[in-house]
Symmetry: C2
Subunit: 228 residues, 2 copies
């Protein structure tokens, strides 16, 4: 019984890992579609989203089966319900990638505003956070999870800079308002991806510590923007 449970738990983790790769790849391709002005890559993202959605359904079924069949102990139960929550987060990252892809197609139809500097940094950072959050979860590594929380601050300040920069450009060239708003939305989408990765990281800390630090972390971080 125990061996079967362990086998199926491993299967659940494998599926989650694969879903994570798909989500990460979708974010990469969607942003490449923008940076390389290659709308074909955006199409790949739009078509691939269904696969991410199917992963969620599959993992959801398997997770419920595991709970119903094996009635796992508290810590394993918590691990499985977190998997269910994380698949939901990954599915939403897929949606963010779709939003980015759609905006990229729109932007690629006009001459672009300016070389992108902060957006590629945001894209790289956000994508890295997704991978690290999943690694931290799989390894139940709270220290790794804490590093992700710090990266979220990097994302927030990049996001602020993109907002400021693009708003200034719109003010100078009001005809570019549609493109500018689209870029701001992409920046917002990347910030959401980082946020979802941060949620996973907070859950990992909770899982390993067994106390609910989720909102406490969030509060503390909001209260103390300046850090040594």
């Amino acid at each position: 019984m125990k061996r079967h449970f362990d086998d199926e738990l491993k299967q659940l983790k494998d599926k989650l890992f694969r879903m994570g790769l798909l989500a990460e790849e979708a974010i990469m391709k969607a942003t490449q579609a923008l940076f390389e002005r290659d709308s074909k890559k955006a199409d790949v993202v739009l078509k691939g989203d269904q696969e991410i959605n199917l992963c969620e359904i599959e993992i959801d079924e398997l997770g419920h089966e595991l709970i119903a069949l094996y009635q796992p102990a508290a810590v394993d139960l918590r691990f499985i319900t977190m998997v269910l929550k994380i698949t939901n987060d990954l599915e939403r990252m897929g949606d963010q990638a779709v939003n980015i892809a759609e905006k990229a197609v729109q932007i690629n139809q006009e001459p672009s505003m300016k070389p992108y500097i902060d957006l590629p940094k945001m894209a790289d950072t956000a994508r890295g956070m997704v991978r690290e959050a999943l690694d931290a979860f799989m390894q139940r590594d709270a220290d790794k999870a804490k590093q992700i929380l710090e990266k979220d601050d990097v994302i927030d300040s990049l996001n602020d800079r993109v907002y400021d920069e693009v708003q200034k450009q719109i003010q100078e060239k009001p005809d570019l308002v549609r493109q500018g708003v689209a870029l701001i939305m992409i920046s917002h989408n990347l910030e959401r991806v980082a946020d979802l990765a941060t949620n996973i990281a907070e859950d990992v800390i909770y899982l390993t510590r067994g106390i609910d630090v989720r909102h406490h972390i969030r509060e503390r971080r909001e209260d103390t923007p300046a850090r040594s």
Copy 2:
């Protein structure tokens, strides 16, 4: 044993219902802060968010306790894991209300662009969707849930109109770019609230039918924007 389970399940539902009311109220106050140019209401939202966060933790604990203690049958297990998912959605609605409140404070510091027409409609519709989604869940009423999916289309077209209208205004008065972008973000936040309510409604249809229609519904609706 059964009676205890039913009692605790009822307690879980009551807590979820209360959390739903708090989220709905936060959205209402945050949008009133904008429409009535009353930043004090925004403060109430910012201070009240912690209570919504605490609800999530409480419900999360109780839900896990119920599963571990009573090892509920498949349909009850699914109901409880959905409660856990819904609390996560409600917590995110609270975050959207916070975002709206913050933007309202910013906007209220300048003379406002134009009387709002579509945004109040969006706010009312989104708020109604949250309440109806929770009602549909509590009553396991798939028909009620389906009506919510249709309202999401109303929200999407209102959102498009706000985007168009505000972008036009920015083009005419580029100095208003910051306020315009803030309004677009509020419209986006309301669209996200409606989206989260739609997620709940899709889950209700799944729960009552026992098959996964979630992504199918989404796909079908995206394929057929025109309906009779």
